[in-house]
Structures are given as structure tokens and as C-alpha cells.
Symmetry: C2
Subunit: 255 residues, 2 copies
């Protein structure tokens, strides 16, 4: 797998798959900059880098870093009082990258994503995460509701971001705020700053278009809602993730 861009390459060299980085290509200008830290690179033309990585946003550098080293969900759950982000069918690589980046910044134990019908950790996601995926654990699971059940058995509390908080569908603003939570069979919707987020916590975020699926929402202990004062009532999922993660971090006394 060819990762590209300055941060992704630099962080790949510092992260878990550092030993897997086999080749680095850089333009003459990029090779002269200090951020590669004296690592041996092959100096090539920018066009060759673009051809190799398939993106024009390579910033003059790319590297063969091997496959992305997914971790096990068990490993993430085994951390002490973990803060975990679980994503239900998030499709957009920009959103996945941004959420991984925010998760890494708040010291989350890991990010859990679906192995189907969801964005995987592609080079575009590495780029969007500014290399944060090299340091935050990312696990893929087959079934998110089952993972949440495991997490609850392990002592975690699962908080689902209430759909109006990050609805992206064209009708996201049409109904009253709670309408789309009718699918939540047992979890109550509370303001996002009401729960006590100490201990093991899983923050569950739904897809850009449809929010949490019913079976996933039903595995949440509570649904949490960010206030929406505007007319659009449609916070982006990565913005919602950042606002919720920093509230959780603050509540946990971190920082």
C-alpha cells in the first residue's frame, strides 16, 4: 500500500508499521526538507509520485508502507477504562480520517469500524487523518451491535450520538429534533453534557446519511444530543465527533 503526503509518510515511519515501510519516493525539493529526518529516499519527479500513489495531493512524497495494521477489537477493549469510538457505516474517507485524527488527539484507546459497507483505512484516509491512523488503534468488526454487546459485558457504557446531531440527509432538518430517534428501542436521548463519561466509554456515531441503525442504537445505554440552534440542524459527523470527544475528555479530567 502506497501512503502519500508528508504527515502520513512521517507518521508511518514513527508508528506501528514503521518496520513495514520498504521504499520512500520524494521529489528533489521534498527530499531536501528536514521533515523526513534523514531517511533514505529515492528522488523522482513529481509525476512519478502522482502515478505511484494515484493522487495529486502527495506533497512530493510517498512510501510503500505495507498493508494497514488493523488491531483486534479485543485488544482495544482490554485497555483500562478505554475511550473507544465506534462508527456505524461511515462512508466518507474524509470523515473517517478526521474522526481518527480527533480520536488520536484525545488519547482514545481505539476506533472500531465495520469491515463492510464502510470506509476502510485507505491511503486517502491516512492522508485525511494527517497520519494519526499510524498511532491510534483501528479495529474492523463484522457486526457493530455485537461489538457493543461485548463492550457492555466488558464494563463499558455505550453512548450513541443522536441522529439529529450529525444528520447529512436532505431531510435531516425537516422533522422535529427527536423524530429520527424513534428507532431507539430502549435508550433515552439526553443532552450531551449530562452523562458521566468516566470509566470505559464507547461513543457510537452513525453514517452520514442515516445515523445509527436500529439494532446498533438499541445496544446503546444512552443517546446523546448536541444542541442544534441553527436552521439546518445538521452538524457533520466529524464535527460532532470532535465536539463529543472533547466533552468526554473534559468530563474524564483529561488534558
Amino acid at each position: 500500500v502506497i501512503v502519500y503526503g508528508r504527515n502520513p509518510v512521517v507518521e508511518a515511519l514513527r508508528g506501528w508499521r514503521a518496520q513495514a515501510v520498504s521504499d520512500i519516493w520524494a521529489t528533489a525539493a521534498a527530499a531536501r526538507e528536514p521533515w523526513l529526518g534523514g531517511v533514505a529516499v529515492r528522488v523522482v519527479a513529481a509525476a512519478q509520485i502522482e502515478q505511484r500513489c494515484g493522487s495529486p495531493t502527495h506533497q512530493g512524497v510517498c512510501a510503500d508502507a505495507g498493508p494497514y495494521p488493523y488491531r483486534g477489537a479485543d485488544e482495544i477493549l482490554a485497555r483500562t477504562d478505554p475511550l473507544i469510538v465506534a462508527l456505524d457505516q461511515v462512508q466518507d474517507p474524509q470523515n473517517l480520517g478526521s474522526i481518527c485524527r480527533s480520536a488520536e488527539c484525545v488519547g482514545a484507546a481505539g476506533v472500531v469500524i465495520l469491515d463492510r459497507r464502510a470506509a476502510a483505512v485507505t491511503p486517502a484516509v491516512c492522508k485525511a487523518s494527517a497520519g494519526a491512523v499510524e498511532h491510534v488503534r483501528v479495529a474492523r468488526v463484522r457486526n457493530l451491535a455485537d461489538f457493543l454487546a461485548d463492550a457492555r459485558r466488558a464494563g463499558c457504557w455505550c453512548y450513541g450520538a443522536s441522529a439529529p446531531a450529525y444528520e447529512d440527509g436532505a431531510n435531516g432538518h425537516r422533522g422535529p429534533g427527536q423524530q429520527r430517534c424513534a428507532h431507539a428501542r430502549r435508550a433515552a436521548v439526553v443532552p450531551y453534557d449530562e452523562p458521566d463519561y468516566k470509566g470505559g466509554v464507547v461513543l457510537v456515531l452513525g453514517s452520514e446519511g442515516r445515523g445509527l441503525r436500529p439494532r446498533v442504537a438499541s445496544q446503546c445505554d444512552q443517546l446523546v444530543a448536541l444542541p442544534q440552534l441553527g436552521r439546518v440542524q445538521s452538524l457533520g459527523v466529524s464535527a460532532a465527533a470532535a465536539a463529543l470527544l472533547y466533552e468526554i475528555l473534559q468530563d474524564r479530567g483529561g488534558g
Copy 2:
């Protein structure tokens, strides 16, 4: 100007430039969906919509909505106890769109951007904002430091997001956290949850690569920093905006 995508078109029809929307084109499938609310559209092939708007992400609909209706910075400052977001050379349309969307969601009085060396409100920004730019005021100014001086004279407190909080440069993680704030000639750096954000507030965010420029930082009353617990120490500017805006909203008792 051709706006495209479901949310941007629907919100253009509900926002300030609703009267300027002269033509709407939609695919047969999109025209049948309820979200256009019975507005008259020209049914065309998807290829024609893509040709007209220049993007494949049109979701089957585009509209000629006239030029984006920028507002005056004075108008934004004249609001009672305004919450204002000011952007110093934010370049990425995705970031500008996401920040406008978050600003609209927290009920901000407006977003102030530079008229040069910064992303303007293009159709791609409308799309990234999910149409929020049709409802939140956006003003362009020539000089951001001058705007901040005006804001302070008008009684606002200006808070600059400390550079490490959203650094995007390859070296963002290299130095100690406060190093990049050396340019701040008089503003102290405090944890983001320390200030009292009531009254008129301007939140100032810097560019993806370099943070706040010295002259802009010098016009801030305080610099505020989000905790960075990870190894990358590099929160994205739109994620930082969301985390800070919701903290400010909470402190103001909103929501």
C-alpha cells in the same frame, strides 16, 4: 453561480438568496423525491447536471442561485452579544464548509473570512456546508487584524485558537506544545475551558499549515488551547472549531 447537491439546493431555496434562484435542474429520479417540495425543475440527464456544475457529487440536482450573498462585517458585529468565527487564511473548501456548518449549528452571528489568500464561498463550500452557508452570515474583510480591532472596540473578546490545537504542517508535532505561540506578542495561552465566553466573542482560527499570523494573534485577548494527548498533536481546524464552538455555546448557556 451553480450550486449543486440536495442540501445546498434545498437550503438555497429557503435562505437569503431564495429570490435569486432562477433555474433548477434535476434528474427524473431526483425530481420525484419529496425534498424539493414541489418546486418546478427541468428534468435532465445526470451527465448534463455534472457538465453544468462541474462536479460528480451533484446528487441529481443543481440550481442557478446567483452570486453568494456576502454580508457586511459591520452587520455581524452589530448583533447583540455576537458569537463570531473569524478565519485567518483557511484554504481548504472542505474546512471552510465544515466550519460554516458548525457555526450555523451553534447559532453563530456570522463567519468572517479574508477576501484574498483564503477559500471563498464557492459551490464546493456550499456543498461541504450542507447548505448552512445559506443561513449563516459570511462576511469578507481585507484585513483580519483590523476586523479584530473593530470587534474589540465593539466590546467583543477575541480568542485565538492556539496553533498546536489544529496544526496541519508536517512539523506540527515536532516541538513542544507552546513553541508556535511565541509569535503571540501579548496574548496568554490558556486551556480552552478556562475563559468566560459570555457576551460578544470572536473565535479566531488560523490556516491549516501555519496557524494564526503574528499580527492576527496579537489582536487576540487570549489564545486558547485544546488538550492534545496523542502523538500527532494535530487536530484538524474544522474539528478544533467544532470542539471550541460547543464549549463556547455550553459556557454561554445555549442549547
